[in-house]
């Protein structure tokens, strides 16, 4: 089938590629070919350059094989069995909280999340339920006054096509890896942030007030550009467990920091990890990269990863500008049958570039966790420095933690420090806490939160408190 007829077929035909039911009329049938890519672009009314971009990515993706090097195991994904377009306001979610997994609701209640928000998080349509629309409007006005652009990437494509054309794919090219190519071909929506020269963004940009724009789908795309001397802090995700019909998530996040600019990107990821056997959990295959393009620029990644059945994720920094700084602070928890292969890459290209890596891995149950980190010092990167600290905490004896630090140093002036520890919560520590009146669960949660302290300290205050709570809840029952 030719590409152009495919568009029509998918968009218009009721039979071969038609709509599944009246109610789900905005969801494409499963399958991926050039026609689907064109149809996505057409449905979004995208300019030509973006369609071309998607097609280039798609053609490249077709030449690629699924990466196998990560230390994770899962059944083969059938990419032809996935539907690649679902309109944002699809009605196929649950209709009320009664339809939601009781375990999930219990967690919401423990986190103290109001009913309205619980509904929003579970994917129940909540349009007029609470105040988020007006809150969001107030925020937008304030941001607009500062000149900060914060909008859906699909809007930005129309409103700021030049910025998108200039920056999209400039940090993570579509040729980067299998999932990045797939995302570039079929990305659904995501966030665009632009902070003009010299502007300090007047507030933390959090997804909290994007709650209405939540259904960005499984191929999310985020692009943040910080012009010279600007500063922005972006909070992604939500401590509440997020439910999603789509199993595969392959997001791409690109950050660009010009001279003296600073981007702080914090994530709390709590996707559904699946049932006790790991069935139905989210596969989270993300490509996140920051480009410290300007001199003295700084990009800082902080992540708390507690969800997903499988996580494959390496937020990285390209330290191109002289004296630029990259940071990676991570807490990853795997329990039950969860698997995570995560870490970072710090690529030192500029002179006197500095990077810090602090990774805290916690495994419980049969959780499998791998830290994979690359620090590369290029020949030109005179005076580069890296400090890596990589700690694993094991709870129980059926879980595992692996550490794969890769170091490539091409400049002899580089200063590298690497520390790695693996520990268990000792019986001594547990008994000590319990002898002071704390239950085993509270003791474990206290010890684990202590272990993660360095990372939590990097999170914005309110997020840090939530992250601690989340960690405690996710480790409940981890020690018997």
């Amino acid at each position: 089938m030719s590409a152009s007829t495919a568009v029509e077929a998918i968009v218009e035909s009721e039979y071969e590629h038609g709509f599944i039911t009246e109610i789900e009329s905005d969801t494409f049938l499963p399958g991926l070919d050039e026609g689907v890519v064109r149809a996505i672009s057409a449905r979004k009314g995208e300019p030509e350059f973006l369609l071309e971009y998607r097609l280039r990515a798609f053609r490249h993706w077709q030449t690629l094989a699924t990466p196998r090097w990560a230390h994770v195991h899962y059944p083969e994904i059938d990419y032809q069995a996935i539907s690649y377009f679902s309109a944002p306001k699809s009605q196929d979610g649950p209709k009320s909280l009664d339809e939601i997994d009781p375990a999930l609701r219990e967690t919401y209640n423990k986190l103290g999340i109001p009913i309205e928000e619980q509904m929003a998080l579970s994917g129940i349509a909540v349009d007029a339920v609470f105040d988020s629309v007006s809150v969001a409007t107030t925020f937008r006005t304030k941001l607009a006054e500062a000149g900060v652009i914060f909008c859906a990437i699909s809007e930005a494509v129309h409103d700021y096509p030049d910025l998108i054309k200039q920056h999209l794919g400039s940090v993570v090219p579509h040729t980067d890896n299998f999932y990045a190519a797939l995302n570039a071909a079929v990305f659904s929506d995501g966030t665009f942030v632009y902070v003009p020269k010299g502007v300090r963004c007047p507030m933390e940009l959090s997804t909290y007030f994007r709650i209405n724009a939540r259904n960005t789908g499984q191929f999310e795309r985020t692009l943040i550009v910080a012009e010279a001397g600007s500063h922005v802090s972006y909070l992604e995700g939500c401590t509440a467990p997020m439910r999603d019909e789509n199993q595969l998530h392959a997001a791409v996040v690109e950050l660009i920091a010009m001279d003296d600019a600073e981007i702080k990107y914090s994530t709390v990821q709590n996707w559904y990890p699946g049932d006790a056997q790991g069935r139905g959990g989210i596969y989270n295959f993300v490509t996140k990269r920051g480009d410290c393009r300007g001199a003295r620029s700084k990009i800082s990644w902080t992540q708390v990863e507690t969800g997903s059945a499988i996580t494959w994720k390496y937020p990285s920094c390209l330290l191109r500008g002289d004296d630029s700084v990259g940071e990676f602070y991570s807490v990853a928890v795997t329990k039950g049958r969860q698997q995570a292969d995560t870490g970072t890459k710090m690529i030192h290209l500029g002179r006197n570039t500095r990077s810090t890596i602090v990774s805290k891995g916690i495994s419980a149950g049969e959780g499998q966790q791998t830290y994979r980190g690359l620090v590369r010092i290029a020949a030109k990167a005179q005076g580069a420095r890296n400090h890596t600290q990589c700690d694993s905490l094991l709870i129980g004896d059926r879980c595992a933690a692996n550490t794969f630090p890769y170091i490539e140093v091409k400049n002899p002036s580089a200063q590298m420090e690497h520390e790695a520890t693996t520990s268990k919560i000792s019986d001594d520590q547990l008994f000590y806490c319990r002898s002071r009146g704390l239950t085993t669960e509270d003791s474990v949660s206290m010890i684990v939160n202590g272990f993660c302290k360095q990372v939590f300290n990097q999170l914005p205050m309110e997020f840090a408190v939530e992250a601690q709570k989340l960690l405690s809840i996710s480790l409940e029952g981890a020690v018997g």
């Binding site: 000792s426 019986d427 001594d428 520590q429 008994f431 000590y432 806490c433 319990r434 002898s435 002071r436 009146g437 704390l438 239950t439 085993t440 509270d442 206290m446 010890i447 939160n449 202590g450 272990f451 993660c452 302290k453 360095q454």
Partner: protein, 250 residues
Amino acid sequence: MLSVKGLKANVGDKEILKGLDLEIGRGEVHAIMGPNGSGKSTLAHVLSGREGYTVTGGSVTFEGQDLLDLEPEARAHLGLFLAFQYPVELPGVNNTYFLKAALNAIRKARGEPELDAVSFLRLMKEKLKVLHLDDSLLKRPVNFGFSGGEKKRNEIFQMAILEPKLAILDETDSGLDIDALRIVADGVNALRSPERSVILVTHYQRLLDYIQPDYVHVLAKGQIIRSGGKELALELEDKGYGWLGAEEAA
């Protein structure tokens, strides 16, 4: 208050406590002395419910309740406190946060209202003053990177905050200089009341110069082989344990 009768306990296959009897009344201070390896720490651990010990005989009641059936935290809720011979480090766990959580866990278990942050802070300030302790202690992670003396003082500080009914101090005096020893003694003396009892496990007569015990017991080879008043401690100082036929364990 505490009644230990014929207590026998094993670690693995090895019998450590071999029929130990001990009666502690309300408001009394008992010193337990004895050679290394005689089972003093084992007794302290068994009383506070540490895993890894098997009680093979005897009974322990605390205020009429069977203590041996209870989890360690339940014993703490009843008012039992152990100052550890080797206090444990909790990296990243703030001392203040830890103590507040502990105190409130105990209060909650007793059906008392939890203390809010302000009242708790006030309580801490007060106790720091009584013990002549520096408040830098509060901001640090529990025992993490503490010197030996600081760890012991932190145990006493915890005791002062938690106000137990029965405190067991396991060689809290070992390795302390004279100033630290005074702090420990002040802490214990401040806690002394007709309502509270203390078991002082110690090696040395020295501590007993500062804390006057009502009774002194000698523990050797898993049994209390001699009990007396504070003059017994002086006698031990003079003659050593050998005099009682209780040589240091091999």
